[in-house]
């Protein structure tokens, strides 16, 4: 029996960034690390051991899984593993985004009230 996606909310900051990096593309560890760094203009760095701790937990909870597809042979390193979002992971990420949007909406509403 799979877990209710709402049980994961709110998700940890690192988890959010990892899940976001896997939207639309499979990634290996270093790829995830780089993408998060670029996306956040260098403010969020996932250090290697932290990253793999999170990846292990995300796999254990079924939010991501290892991908069987690998790049062409000349670009591949046998040691690398590639990860992709699971259906559950995608749902959790969407729910988290909605939650964050809702919070932003609430804040904006409050600001408008204060402006009057």
């Amino acid at each position: 029996m799979s877990r209710d996606p709402r049980d994961f909310l709110p998700i940890h900051n690192n988890w959010f960034h990892i899940l976001l990096s896997l939207v639309g593309a499979e990634q290996h560890g270093y790829g995830i690390m780089q993408e998060v760094l670029e996306r956040t203009n260098g403010t969020v760095r996932l250090w290697p051991a932290t990253l793999y701790g999170s990846l292990k937990r995300l796999i254990g909870d079924g939010l991501i899984e290892e991908s069987d597809e690998r790049p062409v042979a000349e670009l591949d390193d046998a040691r690398r593993r590639y990860y992709k979002l699971t259906k559950l992971g995608r749902t959790v990420l969407e729910l988290e985004c909605e939650r964050l949007q809702e919070m932003v909406r609430m804040m904006q509403k409050k600001r408008k009230q204060e402006a009057y």
Binding site: Y30, M33, P48, Y52, L55, R79
Partner: protein, 901 residues
């Protein structure tokens, strides 16, 4: 490559390779690769600080990963243990009971033999076995090469204490010591307030002074900061408090706690024990002495010096003292314990308890070993499967270790809880004793740590052994053969069976020992009191301490029986100076009695005789018929037995059967003369043996002397007890108390109770003690049966295929049962023979090591009930434990058993 980067990379790789095996299997390569990618980039972007941050990250995550695995192991172990609740319950319970009982018993002996609180360097304190006279003590005190300090004291002695000078204030009975001035210096105790005694300050004729204990100061004086200098009324005389003892100090032997310390130089009016000037009497051997040995002087050297001093004194005084087996007249024994411990008692406490509890502990370990080994074997297939799907060997070993630790730990925690519970129960147990007896049993930290460590080591060791050998085993073979594949290092009739035999032996030894103990106790509990206990009331009086003079006391006591017999409902009244069944009274009233062989010669001498002074009509009131002669009447009480005058009428004595037999053999005792102390008596009566006290399964020679007026004058009488026989259905006791209060309003009465209450109190003590040993014996039985059952069940699992084949070939269920039980029977027989032999040997060794034990144990080791009963009971239970899995073996379906593998 930048050297900074290459160093960081090397460190990173080292740390990454330390990750747990399973993590490495999944992410090891990836983690390495990530490091190789990230480190140059981090160095470029953040410099040295970035590299340090990266290394810090992996250093912190590494232990966290292990912690996560351990948590997983623990959860898995808990699940596994919950899956076999029977095994878990047995293992945890047996550990808990074993650890709890071992710990509390060893702590108990530790606290009995432990040092008294508040005393400096108690190991250097020694005492003379028995009591001595004060002039002898003074000579000992001067042996400066042998003793550094010496003190003599009398105690426990009761004081009637009132807190105001008003004569009509009701006094409380509080116990203390009458001490020589060197008491506190010898014990190395310093006052919390005020001063202690010194030879310069304590001189005869000085105003009475007293030192009080810290406990007394808090309880009775409300911790008054101005207590020093206040006065107390002690036995009718005013005494000034000069000092307060340190916290927890209750005298040299606090098992019999002393709250008041009064110098021996005080007047005889304050302490009736000092009447008749015992400080200058060579023959008043009533003082206990304690010495502090100088550094480097061993006990034998001091003993030799004091022995020589005693002999020269004996020669000077013309006294013929008996020497013991080693040719000594003086024996020194260690005194730095919470109670006066004869070597016998020390042997009892140290040897017996330690032997007993070593047996329990080894039994426990053997049981745990066979349980865990059997379980380990059953799980070998699981191990093989997990190994074949990639589990690492260290991880599996760790898994087993977690289970063992969890099991041992829960058992240990439950055991500690049990130890504290038992200690509390022991402390609250009423000890039948005429004088205060306090005993504080606290689980000893060292004992707790050692017991726990042994149990944990056994649990972990035996839990780990099968795991270690299983992970070395050939996986393929194990998978094919299931639980039957041979273990590395174990033979078919190997370690496990050895443990079962050991367990049977230890438990049978334990069963025999506890059985000896219990039957011994029950013998003394179910002893025939020898008299009718119904409607027999006891009231204690101490007129001397209520300010009565010796003459007034004698007059009061001789008149009392008649005064009280007039109360309605009273059928008989008599007096005694001791209470029948006073409980732990072994040290009381020990005297020496010799038979006169005529013409001034001495015949047979008896050394340990109980002396009881009794009033007229004692045996009639108790309802004990005399075997011959007569008992004391009122005329006997008027006699003067303080000194012998020519021509005075002979003073009568009554002997019990044992005393008569030991003194005169088969000859008629009545009319013969006996000597006790300095006096000659004529035997006028002979009575039955009446057992008195605990641990006294042997009847003790007793001499009854009349309770005369002079006895009250010369004897340091502790008190007198009135025995009142009432009529059924009437509250005689209240009527008697009312009568006493109206006739003698200034008399303090205490210890008012019925004989039945006395007996019940003693019986409950005996029952309690027996219950502990019964539980222990049952525990041994249970453990042994469980162990054997477990091993047999394991054998059935192991031989499942063989049994299947036999049944397929036509073996009947009887034959299968026989096959399974044969192995168990061999173990039971071997264990029983060894256990019986071991038990009897232990009984002999322990009985010869301690006289107390020899008395406590039932008298016959070859009691058929014990000799055949105990092994049969154990074997029966063991065979039942064996039979259950054997019967299950016949349920094996041959087809499925053969197909299964």
């Amino acid at each position: 490559m930048n050297p900074r980067v290459s160093i960081c990379l090397a460190l990173y790789r080292r740390l990454a390779s330390a990750y747990p095996h399973e993590f490495r299997m999944l992410y090891g390569g990836d983690l390495d690769r990530l490091g190789e990618d990230a480190i140059p980039e981090v160095s470029r972007r953040y410099g040295l600080l970035g590299l340090l941050r990266l290394l810090a990250d992996i250093s912190i995550r590494l232990p966290a990963t292990y912690f996560t695995e351990i948590r997983q192991d623990t959860v898995y172990a808990l699940r596994k243990l919950a899956q076999s609740p029977g095994f878990t319950a047995v293992a945890v319970l047996s550990l808990a009971i074993g650890i709890g009982m071992c710990c509390v018993a060893l702590s108990e002996s530790q606290s009995i033999a432990g040092p008294p609180p508040g005393v400096r360097d108690p190991a250097a304190l020694v005492t003379i076995r028995g009591q001595v006279s004060y002039p002898y003590f003074e000579r000992y005190r001067d042996q400066h090469q042998a003793v550094a300090n010496a003190t003599a004291f009398l105690g426990l002695v009761p004081f009637a204490v009132a807190f105001t000078g008003d004569k009509h204030t009701r006094a409380e009975r509080i116990y203390g010591h009458l001490v020589s001035p060197e008491y506190f210096t010898t014990l190395g105790v310093t006052p919390a307030a005020g001063r202690f005694f010194a030879p310069e300050t304590e001189k005869p004729g000085m105003p009475p002074v007293v030192v009080i204990s810290d406990r007394f100061w808090r309880k009775h004086l409300g911790a008054d900061p101005l207590a020093v200098g206040r006065t107390l009324r002690l036995n009718g005389s005013m005494a000034t408090i000069v000092g307060i003892g340190p916290k927890d100090f209750l005298g040299i032997w606090p098992a019999n706690p002393a709250d008041l310390f009064v110098p021996l130089t005080c007047a005889g009016s304050l302490a009736p024990e000092l009447g008749g000037d015992p400080l200058h009497a060579q023959d008043r051997e009533i003082f206990r002495v304690v010495f502090r040995l100088p550094q480097g002087v061993p006990i034998p050297a001091a003993e030799a010096a004091l022995d020589a001093a005693t002999r020269s004194l004996d020669r000077e005084n013309g006294i013929q003292n008996d020497r013991d087996r080693k040719g000594r007249v003086v024996r020194l024994i260690p005194a730095g314990t919470v109670m006066y411990m004869t070597p016998d008692l020390t042997a009892y406490i140290r040897t017996f308890n330690i032997v007993l509890w070593t047996l329990v502990l080894s039994l426990l370990c053997a049981n745990l070993a066979s349980l865990l080994l059997a379980r380990g074997s059953q799980r070998r297939r699981e191990i093989a499967v997990r190994l074949s799907v990639g589990a690492s060997r260290p991880r599996l070993v760790r898994q087993f270790l977690t289970e063992s630790v969890l099991l041992s730990f829960s058992g240990g925690v439950a055991g500690i809880a049990l130890a504290y519970g038992l200690a509390r129960a022991i402390n609250s147990m009423p000890v039948p004793s005429a004088t205060p007896f306090e005993f504080n049993c606290q689980p000893d930290f060292h004992v707790l740590a050692i017991t726990l460590a042994v149990a944990l080591a056994a649990g972990i060791g035996f839990g780990l052994a099968p795991a270690l050998s299983s992970v070395r085993a050939d996986i393929g073979l194990t998978l094919k053969q299931g639980a039957q594949a041979p273990l590395v290092g174990y033979r078919r009739f190997g370690l496990r069976n050895l443990f079962v035999v050991g367990q049977m032996t230890a438990s049978l030894m334990l069963l025999l020992l506890t059985w000896y103990m219990v039957t011994g106790f029950l013998n003394s509990a179910h002893l025939d009191p020898g008299f009718e206990t119904a409607n027999l009331n006891l009231i204690s009086l101490d007129p001397v301490r209520d300010g009565y003079s010796a003459e007034a006391t004698a007059a009061l006591l001789s008149g009392l029986p008649e005064e009280l017999s007039r109360v309605t409902g009273v059928r008989g009244v008599t007096l005694t100076d001791s209470v029948p069944f006073a409980g732990l009274a072994a040290e009381q009233a020990n005297t020496r009695v010799s038979a006169s062989a005529g013409a001034g010669k001495t015949g047979q001498v008896l050394h340990a005789v109980f002396r009881e002074r009794i009033g007229a009509g004692y045996f009639v009131t108790l309802g004990v018929p005399l075997l011959g002669g007569r008992e004391f009447d009122r005329r006997d009480q008027q006699l003067d037995d303080s000194s012998e005058t020519k021509g005075a009428p002979a003073i009568p004595a009554i002997l019990n059967q044992t005393a008569a037999h030991e003194l005169f053999g088969a000859e008629e005792p009545i009319g013969r003369r006996v000597r006790e102390g300095e006096m000659n008596y004529t035997v006028v009566g002979l009575t039955h043996d009446v057992q008195s006290g605990l641990l006294m399964t042997k009847t003790v020679a007793t001499v009854f002397l009349p309770l005369t007026a002079s006895a009250f004058r010369s004897n340091p009488a502790q008190r007198a007890t009135i025995l009142v026989r009432g009529s059924a259905g009437r509250d005689t006791l209240t009527a008697v108390r009312r009568q006493l209060a109206s006739l003698h309003p200034d008399l303090t009465i205490f210890n008012v109770h019925t004989m039945q209450e006395d007996l019940d109190r003693m019986n409950s003590f005996v029952k309690w003690d027996s219950a502990i040993y019964v539980i222990l014996g049952l525990f041994a039985l249970l453990l042994a049966s469980i162990g054997l059952g477990g091993v047999t069940a394991y054998a059935v699992v192991r031989r499942r295929k063989e049994i299947g084949i036999r049944m397929a070939l036509g073996a009947g269920s009887r034959q299968v049962q026989g096959l399974v039980m044969r192995e168990g029977t061999v173990l039971v027989v071997v264990g029983s023979v060894l256990g019986l032999g071991g038990g009897l040997t232990l009984w002999r060794v322990l009985s010869s090591a301690s006289d107390v034990l020899a008395r406590t144990f039932s008298k016959r080791a070859d009691d058929p009930l014990l000799f055949y009963g105990a092994p049969l009971l154990l074997a029966g239970l063991a065979m039942l434990a064996c039979y259950l899995p054997a019967r299950r073996a016949t349920d094996i379906d041959p087809v499925s058993a053969l197909r299964e593998e």
